[in-house]
C-alpha cells in the first residue's frame, strides 16, 4: 500500500517531460511525506527478527547437545570436567539471544543500541554456536577427534580454572616483553626512517646498512643474541625491537621521502624553520605510511616473541606452549593459544584505534 502511494505521488513528476522548475520542486515535495508515512508505519509494527530468533535457537541447540548427549568415555580421560557448567553457560547465552531478538522485534527504545549491535552480529552468533557444537560433538560426544590431542571446548574451562595463575603470569610477562621490544623498535625505527628520508648524509650511510641487514629474519640471530646479551630478556627485547624496527624504518623513510614538495614551499614562504619543516610538515605527512610500518612491525614482533620464549626465556606464552607440550597437556595448550589470539588481536585493534584517532583527517580520503 505504501509503495503504491509513493508511485502515484511520483508519477505526475515523470509524466511532465519538461516541467517548470517550481512545479518540479512541488512534485518532489509530494514524494517525501508519502515515504515518511510508510517508514512510520513499519516502525510501529512488531516485525519478528528472524536472525535473532535463529541465534537463540542455535545456542539452545548447543546447550541441549552439551547437556543431553552423554560424553563418550575415551582412553585415560574418565570424564570431561565442566560439561554441565558449559551447558548451562550456553543455555544462558541462548536466553540472552532470545531476549534481544524479542527486543529487536518489538523495537524496544531503551535497548536500541544493544539491538543494533545484536542485529549486526546475529549471523556470526549463529555460526559460532554451530561451530562450537560441531567441536563439542567431534570431541567429547563421539570421540572422532581423540584425546589427548583434541579436547572439547568445555574442558578449556578446566584449564583456565586450574592453571590460571601460571597462565596469567605467562601472559603478563609476554605482554611486558613484547611492549618493551616494540616500543624500542618503533621509536628507533621511526627516528632512523625519518632521518634517512630527510638527510642526504644519513641516507648515504644508513640506507645501505638497512637494505643489507634488514631482510635477515631476526629469529636467525637468536642463538647469537642469546650469547651476546647478558640475559635472555635483553636478547629477546633486542630481537623484537629489530623485527619491529625494520618495517617501521623503511616505511617512515618512504613516507618522508614521498611528501609533496609543494608543502615545503608553502611552509618556507611563510617563514618555517628546518625544525618546523620536519616536525610540522614531513612527519605529519608521512604518518599514514608510518602506521603501515607499525602494523607490519607488530606482526613480525609476535613471531619473534613466541620463538624467543620457546627457545630461551623462562616465562611467557611461548614458554607455556612448550611446557604444556612437555606434559602432553594439550588442553592447556589450546587455552594458551586462545589467550594468545585474544592478546595479539587486541593489540592490533588498539593500534587501529590509535591510528583512527591520530589520522582522523584521512576519513573520507582513504577507505579503511
Amino acid at each position: 500500500m505504501s509503495s503504491s502511494a509513493i508511485a502515484t505521488a511520483a508519477a505526475p513528476g515523470f509524466e511532465r517531460k519538461l516541467p517548470p522548475p517550481a512545479s518540479r520542486a512541488a512534485s518532489t515535495v509530494e514524494v517525501f511525506p508519502a515515504a515518511n508515512v510508510a517508514s512510520l508505519e513499519t516502525r510501529a509494527a512488531f516485525h519478528p527478527h528472524w536472525q535473532g530468533l535463529a541465534a537463540a535457537l542455535a545456542w539452545g541447540f548447543m546447550a541441549a547437545v552439551t547437556l543431553a548427549w552423554p560424553n563418550q568415555p575415551a582412553g585415560f580421560v574418565e570424564d570431561w570436567p565442566y560439561t554441565t557448567e558449559f551447558g548451562i553457560a550456553t543455555g544462558v547465552v541462548a536466553a540472552i539471544c532470545a531476549f534481544l531478538a524479542f527486543a529487536a522485534s518489538a523495537h524496544v527504545r531503551l535497548l536500541h543500541r544493544a539491538c543494533a549491535v545484536f542485529r549486526h552480529g546475529a549471523p556470526w552468533i549463529i555460526v559460532s554456536a554451530l561451530l562450537l557444537a560441531l567441536w563439542e560433538i567431534l570431541t567429547a560426544k563421539t570421540g572422532v577427534l581423540p584425546p589427548p590431542f583434541f579436547a572439547p571446548p568445555s574442558s578449556l574451562i578446566d584449564a583456565y580454572a586450574n592453571d590460571y595463575a601460571r597462565l596469567a603470569d605467562s601472559t603478563w610477562n609476554s605482554v611486558k616483553l613484547l611492549l618493551e621490544g616494540v616500543a624500542w623498535g618503533a621509536a628507533i625505527g621511526f627516528t632512523v626512517g625519518v632521518a634517512i628520508g630527510w638527510s642526504r648524509a644519513v641516507n648515504y650511510w644508513v640506507h645501505p646498512i638497512l637494505r643489507f641487514l634488514g631482510p635477515l629474519p631476526p629469529t636467525a640471530l637468536l642463538p647469537i643474541a642469546f650469547f651476546f646479551f647478558p640475559s635472555s630478556h635483553a636478547a629477546s627485547v633486542f630481537l623484537i625491537a629489530l623485527a619491529t624496527g625494520f618495517p617501521v624504518a623503511i616505511l617512515s623513510w618512504s613516507g618522508v621521502a614521498g611528501v609533496n614538495k609543494a608543502y615545503y614551499d608553502v611552509a618556507r614562504t611563510m617563514g618555517a624553520s628546518e625544525w618546523f619543516l620536519i616536525f610540522r610538515v614531513a612527519i605529519p605527512a608521512a604518518l599514514p605510511q608510518v602506521f603501515v610500518g607499525l602494523f607490519m612491525g607488530f606482526g613480525s614482533s609476535f613471531v619473534v616473541l613466541i620463538v624467543a620464549e620457546m627457545m630461551g626465556v623462562k616465562s611467557g606464552l611461548g614458554w607455556y606452549l612448550t611446557w604444556a607440550q612437555g606434559y602432553a597437556s594439550y588442553v592447556n595448550m589450546y587455552a594458551a593459544l586462545i589467550v594468545m589470539t585474544v592478546i595479539f588481536s587486541s593489540l592490533i585493534s588498539l593500534l587501529f584505534a590509535v591510528r583512527d584517532r591520530v589520522l582522523v583527517w584521512q576519513k573520507g580520503i582513504v577507505k579503511w
Binding site: V266, M270, G271, A272, W361
Partner: protein
Amino acid sequence: MVVAATAEKPRPEDIAPPAAAHGASRIRVERVSHGFDAPSGRLEVLEDVDLDVAPGEFVALLGPSGCGKSTLLRLVAGLEPASAGAIFQDDGPITRPDPSRIVVFQDPTLFPWRTVWDNVALGLQAQGILKQEKTRVNAALRKVGLEGFATSYPHQLSGGMAQRVALARALVNNPKLLILDEPLGKLDSLTRLEMQGELVSLWQKNGFSVLLVTHDVEEALFLAQRVVIFSPRPAKIITEITIDRPYPRHRDDPVLTGLRHEVLNQLGLGKSW
C-alpha cells in the same frame, strides 16, 4: 577608444593607489636570467627580465604556457636564487623566502592533516606568534567568507573553497606582496568569475602589491593595472600594457575588449580572434 601606450613603463603616480598602500612593497627585478641544468643540457628559462612593481600595484604576467613565468614568481618569492641579476624588495635584495611575500599556487596545497583553521594558522605558527595573534586567523577566514568551516578538513571542501582557504592562509601573514601563480586556473568558470571579483576587493581592502601569473587574458585585463607579456621560453618581456580603467571593472567594457584584441595580437593569436 583609449588604448594605453605599449612598451612604456607606467609611472606609479598614473596608477590609482588602492585604499591603504602603506603595507605594500616595491619589487624590482633587475636583469634577471635563470636556467636549469637538465640531462639534455642547459635549459634557459628567463632572459634578461626587467620588471618594476610599484607599492600597491596589481601586475599580471601573461605568456605562453611553460615560458617561465612561474619560475620568475619562485625567484621573487625567494624559493630559488636567480642565476644572474638581482631582485629587490623595497631596498633589500631577496635572498630567501619571507612571510612578507606570500605565494598562492594553482593547487591549494592545503595540508590535509590540518583543519581549515589550522591551515590558515600555518604562517603564524611557523613564525612562532600564533598564541598572541590568534584573532588574525579568524579575521582571515572572515575575509574569505569561510568562518563557518574552521573545523572542516580540506577534503571536505570544494575546489573554490579550498582555494579561498589558501588565500586566507596567505592573507593572515599580512603580506606586502601577494604572488599568485594561476590561483584560479583549476576552478570551474563560474567560481573563477566570482573569485576574480573577490580578489579585486581583497586587494583594494588590504593594499598589498600583487604579481599574478595567468593564462586567461580576460582575467588579466579584469584584475590588473598593468599586463606584462612574455615571449616563449626563454622568457623575455615583449611588451607591457597599462590598463587605466577604474574598479570595479565590467567585463563588457569596450576598452577592455579592445585591449584583449591587442594582447592576443602580442601573443601571436590575433588571427584566432
